[in-house]
Amino acid sequence: MQLTIITDLNKCVGCKSCQVSCKEHNTAGAFGTVPDHDPYTEPDGMWWNRIVGMESGEYPNASVLYLPKACMHCYDAPCVPVCPTGASYKREDNGVVLVDYDSCIGCQLCMWACPYGVREFDEHEGVVKKCTMCIDRIEDDTLPDIERQPACVQSCPTHARTFGDLEDPESEVAKLVAQRQGFTLLPELGARPAVHYLPRRQAPVILDESEVLRIMEERY
């Protein structure tokens, strides 16, 4: 089993609801608190999920692209073997990459090793933290089914994010990746991320009735 989150880049509108709900859940949640000791004067604290905004093309043919970026829960996670204490590990049963704060020494080598820059250093506790795929929600069987998914997935207003098991061919995420040419970031670095993105489609061709009639007239 390899749990993953797929983001459809056609649907993401960059609202940052997933970014904020991640922070909200993980600040209040039981697994690991995101430290923001002074959130009003220093809003740029720790975020486990950041939405990157890109502008593409040149005026007047320009558009924007939003890329939600959190831990990719890589198959060959480079952050795991470099960790000297075994604090970073990949779970065999569901493929989620986690950090054991009790054995982390805060050397930050895993932050260097992660190609995606999604690990963050908690200066207050002296340990490295990152997206847990909301493992505390997924595994909490006292929660209603709808809540047993990552906070970011649940909060996405456009349903751009889908959660599931990438290795189950019947799962929605596996089908989306297969049918829509899901891709991963920086594949050349060999981390084999589990998190995929669905590429943007071409803008649809807009034809109005008069245009259709004109073409019909011209050709037939």
């Binding site: 950041r50 805060g106 250093f121």
Partner: protein, 339 residues
């Protein structure tokens, strides 16, 4: 990334100690009669390594968990570094105090101890360098050059410091001509390697652009929002603000001068015995400064793959927006209206 003081101290001093230890071994082999004089080198190597070792404790943010550090010996170069350096420093300590505890120690056994500790020093330096060279995400470090450069800086600075210490101890040139020539050759090779490494850093920096981070086909992509990430990237230390071009240039020049040019100049010119001591001591001091500048740049000028999403690339002003009315536009407008 801006290196912390403990990180700088532990990497530079470990190399320096290894270089001094190797110098001690070579000098002992070249001039066995000089052993009592050379003792000071061994002491220096030990003290320097011990300071580096203490600095490494401050590099851990949670030393309490340090007891788990050898758990991942099979995969983690940092675990291996803790092990190899952890063996090297005590071995060096034993080599330092053994002659005082056992005055009549047979020379061949002592020689074996020197070879063993020298090899340990080399292995520790190699393992430390591999820690950096085996991280594919660190585009500037992921090359053999990292290992060669790091080990050479350690060995060559150790040799220069060995000559400097012997000069201070009023036995300049105790190492003899061969050792001195080996040092000059070492500095020259180091110059070449550092030049190649500089080129590699440049290439790594230039090959990563914002456009490559999206997985999209080639197009002019520009980062407009790096996801609430702001300078100085406090929580994401793998990036850090990019060096301003002029500052980078100045630091590289300073490194070239202190690590290569000045020590070489001080060592190479024909010497009057009277000024030998002062020149070699100065060369050693300048070179140690050079080693620190080199290491600071090694960390501060590194390019991490995630830089594509951080975007402290220089902002380009829009080429289309302007407060001025374009003369071209006015001309076209007049033409259209028949004005």
């Amino acid at each position: 990334m801006r290196p912390t003081l403990p990180l700088l101290l532990m990497t530079v001093l470990q190399g320096l100690s290894g270089g001094l230890m190797i110098s001690f071994g070579v000098l002992w082999w070249l001039v066995p009669s000089a052993l009592p004089t050379l003792d000071i080198l061994l002491w220096s190597a030990f003290l320097i390594a011990a300071i580096g070792g203490v600095a490494s404790l401050f590099h851990m943010h949670k030393p309490k968990a340090g007891r788990y550090i050898l758990r991942r010996l099979r995969t983690s170069w940092l675990s291996r570094e803790a092990l190899t350096t952890g063996i090297y420093v005590p071995a060096l300590g034993v080599l330092v105090i053994l002659p005082h505890l056992v005055p009549k120690i047979p020379l061949e056994y002592y020689g074996l101890g020197i070879v063993f500790t020298g090899v340990l020093g080399l292995v520790a330096m190699y393992v430390t360098a591999m820690l950096y060279a085996t991280i594919p995400a660190m585009r500037s470090w992921h090359t053999r050059l990292t290992v060669i450069a790091m080990m050479l800086v350690g060995i060559v600075s150790g040799m220069a410091v060995a000559e400097g210490i012997l000069a201070v101890a009023h036995v300049p040139g105790a190492g003899g001509r061969d050792f001195h020539i080996a040092l000059l050759v070492g500095i020259a090779v180091l110059a070449g390697i550092k030049w190649m490494q500089y080129r590699h850093f440049l290439e790594a920096r230039q090959s990563l652009r914002t456009a490559t981070g999206t997985g999209m086909p080639a197009a002019p992509y520009r980062l407009i929002d790096s996801g609430t990430t702001k300078l100085p990237y406090r929580t994401q230390t793998q990036v850090g603000p990019e060096l301003a071009p002029r500052r980078r240039q100045m630091l590289y020049v300073m490194m070239g001068l202190t690590l290569i040019v000045v020590p070489m100049a001080l060592q190479i010119f024909p010497l009057q015995p009277a000024e030998l001591g002062i020149r070699w001591t100065s060369a050693a001091i300048v070179m140690v400064c050079g080693a620190f500048v080199e290491r600071w740049l090694f960390f501060a000028d590194v390019t991490h793959s995630s830089r594509v999403w951080f975007g402290d690339e220089l902002k380009r002003a829009s080429s289309v927006s302007s407060n001025r009315v374009s003369p071209d536009f006015v001309r076209r407008f007049r033409h259209q209206d028949g004005l």
